[in-house]
């Protein structure tokens, strides 16, 4: 089980980082969200995986480590605030700058003629 879990954490990290390296704000926000899933799972797993061992006294024979859980709980809420801030900032940037590129300006395309006709930009 641990191997599978670690694989999922690694995959989520990789996906998150790839998207965070994209040039448009929305992709970056999605990437950061994926990355924060991975980080939360990673931190949570530092308390080791346990089945049927909720950290509630009297509910089970043994208890999982409550400390990483408490840390991750607040991290999830703060992560939401961070995502919200990033996405609102992205909207504000688009409103003020006229585009949604992370650098605030659209990159100069090497060949404008070959640009795809699709896309709303």
């Amino acid at each position: 089980m641990e191997g599978l879990y670690a694989f999922c954490v690694g995959l989520l990290t990789a996906c998150g980082i790839f998207l965070a390296l994209r040039g448009r704000t929305f992709s970056v926000v999605i990437g950061l969200t994926l990355l924060s899933y991975a980080v939360n799972l990673f931190l949570f797993a530092s308390g080791r995986l346990k089945l049927n061992a909720a950290a509630v006294l009297g509910e089970s024979e043994q208890y999982s480590d409550p400390l990483p859980q408490a840390l991750v709980l607040t991290a999830i809420v703060i992560g939401f605030a961070m995502t919200a801030f990033a996405v609102i900032l992205a909207m504000r940037a688009r409103a003020d700058l006229g585009n949604d590129h992370v650098d605030g300006t659209l990159p100069v395309q090497p060949s404008d003629a070959s640009q795809k006709s699709g896309g709303s930009q």
Binding site: G3, L12, T13, C15, V56, I76, M91, G119
Partner: protein, 932 residues
């Protein structure tokens, strides 16, 4: 010794006086400015008697004792000597500057800078703490920058000031590094501790580094070869500044540093080699260059370099007598050089030129000044009956006793005599070229004697030259002995300050120097011709060139690393992170540990496959944003299932409710953002990013696996054991949040509130157009609030609030709590917004979310403060059990009040964000035409 603290700070207070009194007459301003330094000098002198008896005074105010930071001052013989020089010559310079500066110059500003410098200098010499000493050291660099660039309209003043600041500032950084290593080696930043642990320091492996770094600081400050070039360029300063900084005080700070750390650092081969050879080179180079200067102040500046080299050489000789001679020459040089600078200033002021090719025969115009200048020059040359002669004799004596260069030791007295020859030659040039040698050529003004009181400082100093020269032990004997004792941190050896020691080698060397110097001056035309063959290189141009080169290189590096592209920055940060983690991870021999793994089951595999597929789909379809959002939410759901599976019900609940809020938020945002992402990454970029992402993913996965398969040594046992007895709850996670680590949570909700307020401000002035159709060109549905959704959600609201209350109340003992309850409540309210629209809600729910955040944080803080009332520490909780009919036994805990604060903040923050964002879609949003 409380008055000791006041010694440096009286002048600091004094920096304000000239600024205030500049509106009165210049004389009044000068006198009032002089008042506090005079008082300080009086205070210093009042300690002199005790210090001559061998006492030392200390005063300290601790600041952060744990890391050795304090405000600590000491007054011993060396500090006394320097304080008298700084304050005494400072007072004379104040008087002199009153006549030197013209009516156009802002005298208030000048005096303020000057007193600031005086404060910094006093701080250096009185400090009893290494860090504090360095602080004042840097302050002298900065205040001298202000003084050198006082005539900021002149290019050379700005350039000279910049050069002085760069060189001394760079040296200051080296000194800081040296002092930090020194303090760490000794284990204390107290100067006295350092001076007492000389053996320890010299035995330490850090000793060579310390010596080199500290000496770099000293050499740059005291203009030692090869850092000497800044001093002649600093002559662009007004002459009172040169007389003060560049003869008596600032350039002596480096010498002071060497003398101060003499017991701790000197007396090794390394010290001898570096200090004595640098001093010798400076002594000769400075004296030689001085002969060829045409500018009066240039000659004096190079002569100062030479004399500083002489003192450095003495300090590098490693004998106690040489150190005494060094101290004596510090006094003598300060006296005659300050008077010479002032005389040069008078000549410049009254004739309009400093060029010795124009200045000739001034004897006829200003005989009185000429006499004073000649006496001072004679002292500089080392003529008997002058103070300069005495210390130069001591210098010659010491060079004769040197054996440190082995069989080549005879070089030192020979080269010292050669330097003496140069010194006589340039002193002769100063006297003969300026006051005799024909008639003045094309002077801008007809020279005349200066105002009466402008001469007074020169008269006092020249009188001192003679008095010290004739009655040395009577005048400065006690001071010199006290300073020498303090420098050596031990009783000084016996020495004699007499003028006449009989016919001996040093006297012969003096005679050779005098005769040789006169001969050299007489044949100067040959020397000038010889010197003219060399191509002239202006150190200023070289320096500017180096700076320009460095600036260009730096700009190119910056242009490469900081080109404004966020993608590049993230790439660099991540690439660096992978290098750091991967290299550490390679040291781990096996990936898997010994902890037994949980067997796999079908459900887990299914969920994991779903998670991986959704995550990959998010990446694959990230350009079609709505679809990416949908797959993202699938990932989020499975993450919350994973929390539930692995015994973290609180996390599962939180993740689930946050997931709902996040998706609603992103959909709302997507409404205003482009629906699709254009394809713009080059294939190379995609491959590069994919490689980096896979690498990091692989590393993170490996760390996670290695971590999970190793046994855990947790600190949580404490929480598990004390959760019920100490915190009164069985849900350990919640007890940690509201009790054990309640302070963290308080910070956490504060951050949440601040983020929400920031978002509110970002939204408030947002100017976005509202698209009339989706990405495919289809118009949005006209049915904005479907009746079915409205009815159901309205009936769901009380139910949702009930669930929320239940989750909140049971949170202390069962999975739940303020965070989760707050999110559930938010979701319930948001649903009403979705179903009915902002306008409909506004008239019905009158909640000010900002006040909600504020009261939430307030309640949480107050519940923490409440425990103070009962004499407990911040945020300690109280609980007890009560019995009510019908309900039964129940518990009340102060932690629930804290949790209520958390609840209110979460609801307030979430709603402030979403309600305001949602409001943008209504009639209240700002209208703007589509433009992109």
């Amino acid at each position: 010794m409380s008055s000791l603290i006041w010694l440096p700070f009286l002048p600091l207070l004094g920096t304000l006086i000239p600024l205030v009194t500049a509106r009165f007459s210049r004389t009044a301003c000068a006198f009032m400015t002089a008042a506090l330094p005079a008082l300080t000098l009086f205070l210093v002198l009042s300690h002199a008697g005790d210090i001559f008896q061998g006492e030392r005074f200390f005063a300290a105010i601790p600041w952060i004792p744990a890391i050795g930071l304090e405000l600590a001052f000491r007054l011993d013989g060396l500090a006394l000597l320097f304080s008298i020089l700084i304050l005494g010559i400072g007072l004379l310079v104040i008087l002199y500057a009153r006549y030197y500066l013209s009516a156009k110059d802002s005298i208030g500003k000048f005096y303020a800078y000057l007193i600031l410098f005086m404060f910094a200098m006093l701080g250096v010499v009185l400090s009893d703490n290494l860090i504090q000493l360095w602080f004042f050291w840097e302050l002298t660099s900065i205040s001298s920058f202000l003084l050198i660039s006082f005539w900021g309209h002149k290019t050379e003043a700005r350039k000279g000031a910049r050069m002085a600041l760069t060189v001394t500032g760079a040296g200051g950084l080296a000194l800081l590094a040296g002092l930090l290593i020194l303090g760490n080696t000794v284990g204390s930043f107290s100067l006295q501790d350092v001076l007492d642990s000389g053996e320890l320091i010299k035995a330490s492996v850090n000793y060579p580094i310390i010596v080199v770094l500290v000496l770099l600081g000293a050499f740059t400050k005291s203009a030692q070869f090869p850092f000497h070039f800044w001093l002649p360029n600093a002559m662009a300063a007004p002459t009172p500044v040169s007389a003060y900084l560049h003869s008596a005080t600032m350039v002596k700070a480096g010498i002071f540093l060497m003398a101060r750390f003499y017991p701790a650092l000197a007396d090794t081969d390394l010290w001898f080699l570096i200090v004595s050879l640098t001093g010798l080179a400076t002594f000769l180079v400075g004296a030689y260059i001085a002969i060829f200067q045409h500018d009066l102040k240039g000659l004096l500046a190079n002569s100062t370099i030479s004399h500083l080299g002489l003192i450095t050489l003495l300090l590098g000789m490693g004998t106690d007598l040489a150190a005494v001679a060094a101290i004596f020459h510090i006094i003598n040089h300060a006296i005659f050089k300050a008077s010479l600078f002032m005389a040069a200033g008078i000549i410049d002021h009254e004739s309009g030129s400093r060029d010795m090719r124009q200045l000739n025969g001034l004897w006829k115009y200003m005989p009185y000044t000429a006499t004073l200048a000649m006496v001072a020059s004679a002292s500089m040359a080392g003529v008997p009956l002058m103070n300069g002669f005495l210390s130069k004799e001591m210098f010659f004596t010491e060079t004769l006793h040197q054996a440190s260069l082995g069989s080549l030791s005879w070089f030192i007295p020979v080269l010292a005599t050669l330097g003496g020859v140069f010194a006589v030659a340039y002193s002769m040039r100063f006297i003969h070229d300026v006051f005799f040698n024909g008639e003045p050529i094309n002077l801008p003004k007809t020279p005349h004697e200066p105002p009466r009181y402008m001469r007074v400082p020169v008269e006092i100093l020249v009188a001192l030259c003679l008095v010290v020269g004739i009655f040395p032990s009577l005048v400065v004997g006690d001071l010199l002995l006290a300073a020498a004792n303090a420098t050596l941190n031990a009783p000084a050896p016996n020495y004699s300050l007499a003028i006449w020691h009989g016919f001996n080698f040093p006297l012969l060397m003096s005679v050779i120097a005098l005769v040789g110097g006169l001969y050299m001056y007489h044949n100067r035309s040959h020397m000038f011709k010889f010197q003219a063959q060399f191509p002239t290189s202006d150190p200023k141009l070289v320096f500017e060139g180096v700076i320009q080169y460095l600036t260009n290189k730096a700009s190119r590096i910056i242009a490469f690393t900081e080109n404004g592209s966020l993608q590049r920055y993230i790439f660099f940060v991540l690439a660096f992170a992978i290098v750091m983690t991967a290299s550490t991870l390679m040291k781990l021999n096996t990936t898997a540990g010994h902890r037994p793994e949980i067997p796999l089951d079908a459900l887990s595999i299914t969920c994991a496959v779903l998670l991986c597929v959704s995550a990959l789909a998010t990446v694959l379809w990230h350009r079609r944003r709505v679809i990416a959002l949908l797959t993202l939410s699938v990932v989020g759901l499975i993450v919350s299932l994973a929390f539930a599976q692995f015994s973290a019900p609180d996390l599962a609940l939180t993740q689930l409710s946050v997931e709902v809020v996040t998706v609603i938020l992103l959909i709302l945002a997507l409404f205003f953002l482009p629906q699709n992402t254009p394809k713009e990454s080059s294939p190379r970029r995609v491959v590069r990013d994919l490689s980096l992402a896979s690498l990091i993913g692989g590393v993170v996965g490996t760390i996670s696996y290695a971590l999970m398969t190793r046994p855990l040594d947790t600190i949580s046992t404490f929480f598990t054991e004390n959760s019920k007895t100490g915190g009164g709850g069985t849900n350990i996670v919640n007890v940690i949040l509201v009790d054990f680590r309640g302070f963290d949570t308080l910070g956490e909700i504060t951050v949440l509130g601040i983020a929400a307020l920031g978002i509110y401000k970002l939204i408030a002035r947002m100017r976005l157009f509202m698209p009339s159709s989706d990405g495919n060109g289809l118009a949005w549905s006209e049915d904005r609030h479907p009746i079915l959704l409205a009815v159901i959600s309205q009936s769901l609201l009380p139910l949702a609030l009930l669930v929320s209350a239940y989750i909140f109340l049971r949170g202390h003992n069962m999975p739940g709590g303020g965070f989760i309850a707050g999110l559930i409540t938010s979701v319930a309210i948001i649903q009403q917004y979705v179903a009915h629209g902002v306008d409909w809600i506004k008239t019905r729910i009158k909640l000010d979310y900002q006040i909600m955040i504020g009261s939430g944080i307030g309640i949480a803080t107050l519940s923490g403060l409440g425990s103070w009332v009962f004499g407990h520490t911040f945020l300690s909780s109280w609980f007890d059990y009560f019995y009510l009919p019908v309900i039964g036994k129940f518990e009340l805990a102060s932690a629930m009040i804290f949790d209520l604060g958390v609840f209110l903040t979460v609801v307030g923050a979430t709603m402030l964000i979403l309600a305001n964002l949602g409001q943008l879609t209504t009639s209240e949003r700002p209208i703007q035409k589509e433009h992109d």
